[in-house]
């Protein structure tokens, strides 16, 4: 038999002879012995000496063994102090009493030293086990606190990265459940220089710290590129490349990206691995699912990554609704999933579009919302462009040196047109001119409009009247991709000229294309139309810039921007 470490054992027994006998047996087994002749003495001795184990006679004067056991167990608290009742009780009711009172075992009289030794050993094993459990629990508790603190710090850093976003814009409503201190879900929104809005709903594999670590570089790319005026495709390529490079092979980020254009009244969508989003048309009531057509970010190499987006028209008041799979996967008590069907039911029952968000929240709560995953939802509406105020761009230079008299010519040819968006660079260049900074939004919008007209209608020969309805929209963009991919010849030339004018200055922008041109007179005759989906580009240029004119049968567009002396 393995030898036990000596324990301190309290023997509470009123019969002197039995007490003496038991003490000898226990001492002989290598333990230290404390004795008590009644229950009250036993409790007091326990309180003072804290023995490891107690042998308790059931019947004692002053305070019986049951009461003494109850009190000792209370005093012991979390620590396990095994109590072995000494009894010649044979009735099962009496034995049950022993256990109820907190006894862990009992030893019958006459005492059998062999059995007693075995019971002491067994009880000691239990005692040690409990001690280990408590120790580990405390250790785990401390580690957990460290982890929570680390996450808190990381979250603070993360929030700084995310602060430049515009989630508080009036057209955005969102919900993120605080399942983990960090959500694996990422929700970003930012304005482009043109006043369009980019929105990203992402879901990293995993939760907590691993998910958040990937979120930060992603957010930086998103905000950085959006602010510079890059489109969705370029931003997606960059985000994918970055994640592919820095994340381990088995980590990736499912994401849906949107570009809402209030001026062009359209939404551009890219969905990689997220559940269906929904485009809700107020006029028809239809909810079009925006299905994942791509792999998540961070899986494919830059060469194989697909940045193809889909474009849909939107009217004022229409909304796009995105959700993470946490909504679908919300469970009730019977492990039933909320599921897409229930979501569709909420959609169908909805009468007030503004109330939809709240109705979904309520449905999830009613369902028995024990969130199994992170729940994130966002609803973005198309408002009138005038209802939104994008924040002013912040410039980091001192404002002292600034190029005031210069010009530049670019010619972008077929191969470049296919894979390069020059607009961010052109804008950066122009923003070196301080006088133009206040008009950066208009500037970007006009440049973008002229460039896209030159490319799409000019070089690619696309007819903008195709975009008169939803299916036409889809066809238009499909054709655009096809023709762009197959482009062999053609060019877009951009000429920029900045000259001083009194205390201020003037910028002349000229954009030419190699296309067939259009009937300028006819288009200019049309009234400035705020509702139609196509043909709005010309109006825009005329409204935002000065002295807009078209020449060379429509192949050359010219517009001016000017500014007064700066304060």
């Amino acid at each position: 038999m393995q030898s036990l470490e000596p324990l301190t054992i309290l023997i509470a027994e009123d019969s002197a002879a039995d007490r003496m006998l038991l003490s000898s047996i226990v001492r002989r087994q290598g333990h230290n012995v404390l004795t008590a002749a009644n229950g009250a003495e036993a409790v007091e001795t326990f309180r003072q000496q804290q023995p490891h184990l107690v042998l308790m006679d059931a019947m004692m004067p002053v305070m019986d063994g049951f009461e003494a056991a109850r009190q000792i167990k209370l005093l012991a608290g979390e620590t396990l102090v095994p109590i072995i009742f000494l009894t010649s009780l044979t009735e099962s009711e009496a034995l049950a009493r022993c256990l109820e009172a907190g006894g862990d075992d009992f030893l019958a009289k006459p005492y059998n030293p062999v059995i007693l030794a075995a019971k002491i050993k067994a009880m000691d094993r239990l005692r040690r086990l409990q001690a280990t459990v408590l120790q580990q629990r405390d250790l785990i508790g401390r580690h957990h606190d460290y982890l929570l603190n680390e996450q808190r710090v990381a979250k603070a850093v993360f929030d700084k990265v995310a602060h430049s976003g515009c989630l508080n814009a009036p057209n955005i409503r969102y919900l993120q459940s605080p399942y983990a201190l960090f959500n694996g879900d990422l929700l970003l929104a930012a304005f482009t220089p043109a006043g369009d809005m980019h929105v990203l709903l992402g879901d990293f594999t995993g939760h907590g710290l691993p998910a958040a670590v990937g979120a930060m570089p992603l957010a930086e790319v998103f905000y950085g590129m959006t602010a510079k005026g890059y489109g969705l495709s370029e931003t997606l390529r960059e985000m994918n490349a970055k994640l592919k490079r820095i994340l381990p092979v088995d980590m990736f980020c499912c994401a849906t990206l949107l570009c809402l254009s209030f001026q062009r009244r359209s939404v551009e969508v890219w969905n990689g691995g997220m559940p269906d989003g929904y485009l809700h048309s107020i006029a028809t009531g239809e909810r079009k699912p925006l299905t994942a057509r791509h792999l998540p970010l961070g899986v494919l190499s830059p060469q194989t990554f697909n940045d193809r987006t889909e474009v849909f028209p939107m009217a004022v008041g229409d909304r796009v609704f995105l959700l993470s799979d946490g909504v679908i996967d919300t469970c009730d008590g019977n492990e039933q999933l909320f599921g897409v069907d229930r979501l569709q039911q909420v959609f169908a029952a909805n009468r007030q579009p503004d109330a939809l968000f709240g109705e979904i929240k309520q449905a999830l709560r009613n369902f028995g919302g024990e969130a199994r995953d992170d729940v994130s939802m966002v609803e973005v509406s198309l408002l009138e462009a005038t209802q939104l105020t994008p924040p002013a761009l912040v410039y980091s230079d001192s404002g002292q040196s600034c190029p005031l008299d210069w010009s530049v010519n670019f010619e972008f040819r077929a191969e470049t047109l296919k894979r390069f968006n020059p607009l961010p660079y052109l804008l950066q260049l122009l923003l070196e001119v301080h006088g133009l900074r206040a008009q950066s939004g208009s500037l970007y919008s006009v440049l973008a409009e002229l460039y896209s007209n030159a490319l799409e209608h000019g070089v690619l020969g696309l007819d903008s009247s195709l975009k008169r309805d939803a299916s036409g929209f889809a066809r238009y963009y499909q054709l655009r991709n096809e023709r762009l991919e197959g482009l062999q010849d053609g060019f877009v030339r951009v000429h920029l000229q900045v000259t001083p004018e009194g205390k201020g200055g003037c910028l002349v922008v000229r954009v030419e294309d190699s296309g067939k041109g259009f009937d300028v007179a006819r288009v200019l005759e049309r009234p400035l139309d705020g509702v139609r989906l196509s043909g709005r580009g010309v109006s825009l240029v005329r409204q935002l810039g000065r002295n807009a004119s078209w020449s060379d049968e429509g192949r050359c567009a010219r517009v001016e921007f000017s500014w007064e002396a700066l304060a």
Binding site: S15, A17, D18, M20, S24, S88, K109, P110
Partner: protein, 115 residues
């Protein structure tokens, strides 16, 4: 009812455990038992009688006084059932049994001291 007044195996086991304290144990038991007998003869109520009998039963069995333990068990049962009619006879038997085993313990004590 068993014939054994004192179980020798129990005694030798006790001696092995107690070693030098064996004689003291025997003494303690004898004194203890005298007290208990007094309690049995002057009980206040049935419950007290039952508890006293129970206790005496326990130590007797520990000390190998088999028949004594069984008599105490019977007394315990009767007291528990509150059938106290003629209980003095049973107490008398216990008294008598102790009178038999007591000199046996004394002798055992002497024997162990002279080893």
């Amino acid at each position: 009812m068993a014939d054994t007044h004192l179980d020798p195996n129990v005694l030798s086991a006790l001696q092995e455990v107690m070693e030098d304290e064996y004689p003291e144990l025997l003494d303690t038991f004898i004194r203890d038992s005298e007290e208990r007998l007094k309690l049995l003869q002057n009980y206040a109520d049935a419950m007290q009688l039952r508890d006293a009998a129970h206790s005496f039963k326990g130590s007797s069995s520990n000390m190998g006084a088999i028949r004594l333990a069984e008599l105490c068990h019977e007394l315990e049962q009767r007291a528990n059932q509150k059938s106290l009619a003629g209980i003095e006879k049973l107490v008398g038997e216990i008294d008598g049994e102790f009178a038999i085993v007591r000199p046996l313990y004394e002798a055992e004590k002497q024997r162990s001291l002279s080893e």
